[in-house]
């Protein structure tokens, strides 16, 4: 069994190599051209190759050099934060600024370490009002405040 000494490195290196390979795949339709007359695929392909090589080197280092192991992933916290952003993305156009802000605050607060319900609702309302005032009335940004219906 090969000892994995640097867990983070192995993961990071694999990620880079995968991204490099993905880039090579997606660039496959692009013209390579020559050095003198570079096609649009010339530089991306070279960069992708370099990325794959760097990734492999990092993985190798992960096996050889004692490094850090990755700490826990905290899926719940990550997912909550991202969900808050995604919820905003889905709701801003149909539901307007005030409601989206409120939803985003509510979901986002759940990622915190202590969650007090009344406080979260109050914060959500406060931020929603504040954003409406500052961004739509104050800065005149072209958002709709309220839902379209």
């Amino acid at each position: 069994m090969i000892a994995v000494r640097g867990g983070k490195d192995v993961l990071a290196g694999s990620l880079f190599s995968l991204l490099g390979l993905a880039a090579l795949w997606f660039a496959r339709g692009l013209e390579y051209g020559t050095a003198r007359q570079m096609g649009s695929g010339f530089v991306p392909r070279w960069l992708a190759v370099i990325l794959v090589l760097l990734g492999m080197a990092i993985v190798a280092r992960g096996f050889m050099v004692a490094g850090a192991r990755m700490a826990g992933l905290h899926v719940r916290r990550t997912a909550t934060i991202l969900l808050a952003v995604i919820a905003f993305g889905f709701s801003i156009e149909p539901l307007g600024l005030v409601i989206s802000t409120f939803i985003c605050t509510l979901i986002g607060s759940l990622a915190g370490n202590e969650v007090r319900r009344a406080e979260v609702v109050a914060l959500g309302a406060a931020l929603a009002m504040f954003s409406g005032l500052v961004f739509v009335y104050g800065l005149r940004l072209p958002f709709s405040m309220w839902p379209a219906f």
Partner: protein, 499 residues
């Protein structure tokens, strides 16, 4: 070039009521976020960038730069009073600053930090004023090969001077370069990496990328560190430093300012590096090094002067060559481009009001900052009592709103989530996101210069060696890489960071 005359021109721009107003807004916001731990100038500037659309380019840049160097002032307050760095560049100020506060000398510590920062800020402004025109003359001799090599050098320097593994940072740079290629290729019209998504035809948005990588992951990081309870302190009496303080601090301020000015100019350099080096140097050359860590006033004066000087001189590469040296300046470059100004050596000719107005506004800003920071300390202290659990949802919300406001595209909010996830993953894997952002900004330009260089040389890569300036830059790049790659020197670099 008549520098003083140009500075005068700059002052007439900077002293207009709107300029002063936005300078004031910028430095107040800067101080505010500097005081609050967990919120930094990078995140704030990224959030406010879209809001600057409605300002003129001059006032926008004045405000945004005010946030940056203002944050350096604010960070020292938290460091001294609460032993927490409000800003990464104030980390080292915690050491002696908080000790002084515990000895009941918070007032003098704060005053020394503020006055040292003022001095450094003024010195740095003059350095900017005199150095930039000279560098621009040099830059005008640059052809595409030189620009390309300079950008390579800049990226490598960013890696060398950054913390963490060289290989990982290089990989982040390559990734950033690749991200910069998404979109329509200017030369051929081909679509690269767009997956048929129309919103990607113009490339990945800079704002969703920057904010996902920095703001979202910063929220995550702060929650992980459980920045909940912040302990605040005693009343601040007696603001004025003693005569002995002055005598000791004065040379430290001079040395700190000088170091800061030099280190700020280097790509990848910045306020944090400058403050660390200034503290280390001060301790090394002191007659009584054992006083450091116990409340030595030089331990506050030197890093605080250095970080302000560096924050301002980090504008040099942007204003002379159009190349950002760190992530905040990359945002400034973004701001300029958003207002239709291509950063580079031609800015001083085409928009002297912008160039000199920005530099002169730093004088105005520093004066305003001292006025704000000393008497209004009590207010800032009270702000430190806001619990993080109320603050971070606000950051999330403002980030989302900011990103959406750029192009009114929900797609970009989804990109924000994607890059937010990427930022969190990178944080967990010890990959620094700053090199990625830098590479993203300079990448398209680099490709263009590379392409042109090879066209000029008819396909021969030797052009980079044949032209003297380019060859010199290539040598410098190799030397930098060697410094990191060679193990014994690498250990020296690590020592410098453990400080």
């Amino acid at each position: 070039m008549d520098v003083l005359g140009s500075l005068w021109l700059g002052l007439t721009v900077a002293l207009q009521p709107m300029s002063i107003l936005y300078c004031l807004i910028g430095v107040v916001i800067g101080t505010l976020i500097g005081v609050l731990p967990g919120v930094g100038p990078l995140v704030t500037i990224a959030m406010l960038l879209p809001a600057t659309y409605f300002l003129t380019p001059v006032t926008a840049l004045i405000m945004l730069s005010g946030i940056y160097y203002g944050a350096q002032y604010g960070g020292s307050t938290t460091a001294i009073l609460v032993n927490l760095p409000g800003e990464s560049s104030s980390l080292i100020t915690c050491l002696d600053g908080h000790q002084m506060a515990r000895a009941g000398r918070a007032g003098p510590a704060l005053a020394v930090a503020a006055l040292g920062s003022l001095f450094a800020g003024i010195v740095a402004t003059f350095v900017l004023a005199f150095l930039c025109p000279v560098l621009i003359e040099v830059a005008l001799m640059f052809g595409p090969a030189e620009y390309f090599m300079l950008m390579v050098l800049g990226l490598v320097a960013a890696v060398v001077l950054a913390q963490g593994s060289l290989l990982t940072a290089l990989a982040m740079i390559v990734l950033g370069l690749l991200l910069g290629m998404v979109g329509t290729d200017v030369n051929t019209g081909d679509q690269r990496f767009t997956f048929g998504i129309p919103e990607l035809l113009d490339g990945v948005g800079f704002i969703p990328l920057a904010m996902g990588l920095f703001a979202i992951s910063e929220v995550f990081r702060s929650l992980e560190a459980n920045d909940g309870a912040v302990v605040v302190t005693q009343k601040i009496r007696n603001l004025w430093p003693s005569k002995q303080d002055f005598l000791r601090a004065w040379p430290a301020v001079l040395r700190g300012s000088a170091l800061g000015c030099v280190l700020g100019v280097l790509p990848g350099g910045g306020a944090m590096l400058a403050s660390f080096v200034a503290y280390a140097a001060e301790k090394r050359f002191s007659a009584e090094p054992e006083r450091f860590g116990q409340g030595a006033v030089e331990g506050v004066a030197a890093p605080e002067s250095a970080n302000n000087a560096a924050a301002q001189t980090s504008f040099v590469p942007l204003l002379t060559l159009g190349i950002p040296g760190n992530a905040v300046i990359a945002l400034m470059a973004g701001a300029m481009m958003v207002h239709g100004i291509q950063p580079g050596p031609q800015v001083i000719e085409s928009r002297p009001d912008l160039f000199w107005g920005l530099i002169a506004s730093m004088l105005v800003g520093n004066v305003l900052l001292v006025i704000i920071n000393l008497p209004l300390i009590g207010i800032w202290v009270r702000l430190l009592r806001v619990p993080y659990r109320l603050l971070f949802p606000a950051i999330l919300v403002f980030t989302c709103i900011g990103v959406f406001s750029v192009n009114n595209l929900s797609f970009e909010v989804f990109l924000l989530a994607l890059f937010g996830m990427a930022g969190i993953v990178f944080t967990k894997l010890d990959c620094e996101p700053a090199p990625l952002l830098l590479a993203f900004v300079v990448g398209p330009l680099m490709e263009e210069y590379f392409r042109r260089s090879l066209q000029v040389s008819r396909g021969s890569p030797l052009i980079f060696i044949e032209r003297p300036i380019s060859a010199a830059l290539l040598v410098a790049t190799t030397v930098l890489i060697a410094i990191v790659a060679v193990p014994s020197l690498g250990r020296f670099r690590e020592q410098a960071f453990k400080g």
